[in-house]
Each structure stands twice: as structure tokens, then as C-alpha cells.
């Protein structure tokens, strides 16, 4: 039944993020409608490189849980500490509590990314001509894999910080990652920011397997650290 708790905590957040794709849809539609054949790839690349990473960071920060603590169904709050005591009185290990909540948020983040990719394909006619559904599916898989590191970073912050600070921390850390990814000395496999942007399948026409693997590996480490903190934390 932990999934029910997670779903009730996140359903309005998920709905908000799905609605939030509408302005993006408008931008994409405009880009597609006014694009000429020569400029379309440049416009799509710009859109993918700048708008989508911002949207993904926001989605991750919004849907990642507050660790074991209870979240309100919509707005960021200072943590509902008291009801966390009720949760922890259940005969459930903290691993399961954290994993179920993080898993639900990750699935919802993936769903939002999936919907976004569908909209991109449907709303940009000229892109539809140049990109096959399989490439769009690859794009979605790449975005999900590469965004996982940001998502689990937010999960990790949720085990230490109040919800409000977790969101701020996730955005700040994402800016830090973005800056780090602009450094030429950074190995290509660690370039997550460009994995969701310029190196993503619909722009580079190749799947960045190494970046995806790095991001998923990093996600696993971040989740492990989050779990250790949740297990050590006192309430």
C-alpha cells in the first residue's frame, strides 16, 4: 500500500507537470510552423538543448520525494515531520519506504518525459518528417536515463533537507552540473547536460550509450547514499 501513499502525494504534482508541457507544446509548435527546411534542424537543436533540460530539471525537482518524510500533495512545505513518525511505526524497512517513493516519482518523471517526446513528434511537422518514431523512442529513453542522475540527486537531497530547500538545492546543483559539463576537460561519458541536449538522438542521430550508462550508474550511487542517510537519520 506504500504505492497508494506515494500516488496520493504526487498525483497533483504529476498533473501539474503534464499541464506544464502545454507552454512547451506552444513553443514547439511555433518553432515547427515557422521553420523552413533549412532552419528546422537548428531550431529543433536549440529547443532540445535549452528548453528541455530546464524542463527536465524542474520535473525531477518537483516529483522527487522528500525522503521518508511526508510531502503535501502539491506545494513545497517544511516537511510533515509528525506523520513521518506514523510511517516509521509501520513494520517496513526504510529501504522499502524510500525505494517505493523514489520509484513512483521516477516512473512519473519518465511518463512526463514520454509525453513531452510524443508531443514533440506530433507538434513539429517538419521534425516528424525527419525523425522516425523509433528515433523519438530512443530520444525519450536517453532523456529518462540522463535525467535519472538529477532525479536521484533530488532524492538524496530530500533525505537531508526540507522540501523547499530540496527543490532549491536540486536547481542549484543542476546549474553546477551544467557549468561542469561546459568544461573541456570533462570526459565525454560524464557530459550529462549535453546527453539531454546536443548529443541526444534526434539532434546527433546517435544514442549516447556511455552517457546513459554513466548517468544510471551515478543514479544508483546517489540512491545508495540516500538510503544510508535515511537509515541513519533520526526522527
Amino acid at each position: 500500500m506504500l504505492w497508494l501513499k506515494g500516488w496520493l502525494e504526487t498525483r497533483f504534482r504529476l498533473l501539474f507537470m503534464l499541464i506544464f508541457t502545454a507552454p512547451l507544446l506552444f513553443v514547439m509548435h511555433s518553432a515547427g510552423a515557422h521553420a523552413t527546411a533549412s532552419s528546422v534542424s537548428g531550431r529543433v537543436a536549440g529547443l532540445v538543448s535549452h528548453v528541455i533540460p530546464f524542463f527536465i530539471v524542474f520535473t525531477c525537482a518537483f516529483l522527487a520525494g522528500a525522503g521518508i518524510a511526508t510531502q503535501t500533495s502539491f506545494q513545497a512545505s517544511k516537511g510533515l515531520h509528525g506523520s513521518a513518525l506514523f510511517t516509521l511505526s509501520m513494520p517496513v524497512r526504510r529501504l522499502r519506504l524510500l525505494a517505493v517513493r523514489a520509484g513512483i516519482g521516477w516512473l512519473e518523471t519518465s511518463a512526463v518525459i514520454g509525453v513531452l517526446c510524443c508531443e514533440m513528434w506530433l507538434e513539429i511537422p517538419m521534425q516528424r518528417a525527419g525523425v522516425t518514431p523509433i528515433e523519438m523512442f530512443e530520444q525519450a529513453a536517453t532523456l529518462i536515463a540522463c535525467s535519472s542522475a538529477i532525479y536521484f540527486l533530488s532524492v538524496l537531497l530530500g533525505t537531508m533537507l526540507d522540501d523547499q530547500w530540496r527543490v532549491r538545492g536540486t536547481v542549484l546543483a543542476s546549474v553546477g552540473i551544467w557549468v561542469l559539463c561546459t568544461q573541456p576537460s570533462l570526459p565525454a561519458f560524464a557530459d550529462i547536460a549535453h546527453g539531454v541536449g546536443e548529443r541526444s538522438p534526434i539532434v546527433a542521430h546517435t544514442i549516447p550509450w556511455n552517457v546513459m550508462a554513466f548517468s544510471l550508474g551515478l543514479s544508483a550511487i546517489l540512491f545508495f547514499v540516500a538510503l544510508k542517510i535515511a537509515q541513519r537519520r533520526e526522527y
Binding site: 496520493l8 509528525g82 516509521l88 513494520p91 517496513v92
Partner: protein, 297 residues
């Protein structure tokens, strides 16, 4: 099989160098109703949270049903046997009464649907109402329902009647006694309401500054603790060296009031040896015992 549902030995816990528990020894007999008393900040909630695995003790040991609870995860199995009411009575704000019951039920294989129905009716809990729309008293009742219907062998209740009106308090206390009698479960509850504790508890523990200062069977304590009044012939009595057990000695005019924690017979004997003194002994209430320890510390 241990005779104690809860046992702690030299339990210590500090928060930023501020000691909350200083070697707490607690023994709660299985099947008892144990009233856990103490002033604000005495260490009651810290003890309860440690028993529930929400806090980790710095040193010492804590066992529930013989299982160490010092590691939260290893104690997950024990929590299946425990019903818990938190101090602040907070539950998930996005759930209704019915949803939180449906949510809690599957975690407990011994869930008592009969008790669930009984308390839903008795407490007049509106199933469709969201938890934030419930009064504090209603939330207390809902938490009690969620704790009792678990089919637990041990109820750990932190201020269970907080927010309840006198009639509801009476109902809850009667139910607690009733389920202990019928199911043989152990109830460990903290309260500031000494009259409540005296009404239903058969064992009490008084904690002060993180240490257990009084603990035992309530009837034994009442038999052991006695107040001795000595009325002197004149205001100034001869200097008396009272025997061990004379806990607090106060004189107002010609009357010397002595609270004995034990050895009352020897104190009376000593008082009777004062020329011209009249000696009387009285039983004491739990409140007197509590206040005496609260003041002396």
C-alpha cells in the same frame, strides 16, 4: 520468552551535548498497563522514540519483546507487534479517515476488523472526512483506532488522551483497560494526567532528567509510600535523625510532615520517641509521589 515487554538498561541519549536520557533503566512487565510519568523534558518522548527505533541510543540497550531496537531496520519485525500513538497525532493530510485505515490495514496480518468497526462507531469518526478537517480530539481517536486495530501485543501511547474531552477520555481509558483484560496486551503510555494514570495503570515509572526515579507496581508503591505527620508539643522539637526512607521533611508550625518512600514503621517509631509528640500516618496519592520527586530534583 521474556517476562518484560520492554526492557532498557543504562539507556543514554544526548542531543548536541544536551543529555536527554542518562542511564534509564526501564522494565515494563508483559500484560501490564504501565504509566510513564515525568515533567516536560524529562525524557518520556525520547524514550518512546528510542523504543520505536526513531532515535538511536548513544549507549545502553533497549529491547522490546527481547529484540534489540537499537537498529531501526532490525526492529521492523517487532513493529508488527506494536501499536503506536505519536505525541503530535499527525497523519497524512491528503488522506481521508477511510483511506488511512485502508492504507494501514495490510501492514498488519492480525488487523482486527471488529475493533476497527467498533471504534469507528464509538468514536463517531466520519469516514469520508479528510484528516486536516478533523479536530485534534478526532485525530487522537483515529490514531487510537489505528493503533488498537493492529491487533498489537504492545501499545505504546504518547499522551493518548491529549485533546480528548472528559467523556471521550473516560471511554478511551475504559477501552484500554478492557482490551488489556480481554487480550492480555501490554500498554505503555505516557501522560501528564496523573489521575488517568492512577485510574488505569497497574505499574508506574517516574522519569526525571533522563533517569528513572521511581518504578514499580502502583499498589506496592502506594503501600510503601506513606506520609507521617508529627505534631510536636511546642514549635521547636528536639533535633531528630530520621531513619532511611524519610524522603522529604517539612515543618510548618508544630506539624512536621514526612514523606516516606519506605521504612515508614521505623520513621513512626522514631517520631513516637519524641516526648509529647502525636504521630499520624496517611496513605499518599500518586500525585504526591510525583510532585515530591519533581520538586526534589
Amino acid at each position: 520468552m521474556t517476562d518484560f515487554a520492554i526492557e532498557t538498561h543504562q539507556l543514554c541519549k544526548s542531543f548536541k551535548d544536551q543529555p536527554a536520557l542518562r542511564g534509564l533503566d526501564l522494565h515494563v512487565p508483559a500484560g501490564s498497563i504501565f504509566g510513564f510519568l515525568g515533567r516536560n523534558g524529562a525524557g518520556k518522548t525520547t524514550t518512546i522514540k528510542t523504543l520505536m527505533g526513531l532515535l538511536r541510543a548513544d549507549t545502553g540497550s533497549a529491547h522490546v519483546f527481547g529484540v534489540p531496537v537499537t537498529d531501526a531496520d532490525s526492529a521492523a519485525g517487532v513493529r508488527r507487534r506494536i501499536g503506536f500513538v505519536t505525541e503530535d497525532k499527525e497523519l497524512y493530510p491528503y488522506m481521508t479517515v477511510e483511506q488511512i485505515i485502508r492504507f494501514t490495514r495490510p501492514f498488519f496480518p492480525n488487523w482486527r476488523r471488529d475493533l476497527e468497526q467498533r471504534y469507528l462507531e464509538m468514536f463517531e469518526l466520519p469516514k469520508a472526512r479528510k484528516i486536516p478537517d478533523l479536530s485534534k480530539g478526532m485525530r487522537s481517536k483515529l490514531m487510537l483506532l489505528l493503533a488498537i486495530a493492529r491487533g498489537a501485543e504492545l501499545l505504546i501511547l504518547d499522551e493518548p488522551t491529549d485533546g480528548l474531552d472528559p467523556a471521550a477520555t473516560e471511554d478511551v481509558l475504559r477501552e484500554l483497560v478492557s482490551i488489556t483484560g480481554s487480550s492480555g496486551i501490554t500498554i505503555f503510555f505516557s501522560s501528564h494526567q496523573l489521575s488517568e494514570v492512577e485510574l488505569i495503570a497497574d505499574h508506574v515509572g517516574i522519569v526525571d532528567q533522563g533517569r528513572m526515579v521511581v518504578s514499580g507496581c502502583l499498589d506496592d508503591l502506594k503501600a510503601r509510600y506513606q506520609r507521617v505527620h508529627v505534631v510536636l508539643e511546642s514549635g521547636e522539637g528536639p533535633p531528630v535523625r530520621w531513619p532511611e526512607g524519610a524522603e522529604s521533611i517539612r515543618q510548618e508550625g508544630r506539624v512536621v510532615s514526612i514523606l516516606c518512600s519506605h521504612n515508614a514503621d521505623a520513621v513512626v517509631e522514631q517520631a513516637q520517641s519524641i516526648p509529647g509528640a502525636t504521630v499520624e500516618r496517611f496513605p499518599v496519592t500518586l500525585k504526591e509521589i510525583f510532585l515530591e520527586h519533581a520538586r526534589s530534583n
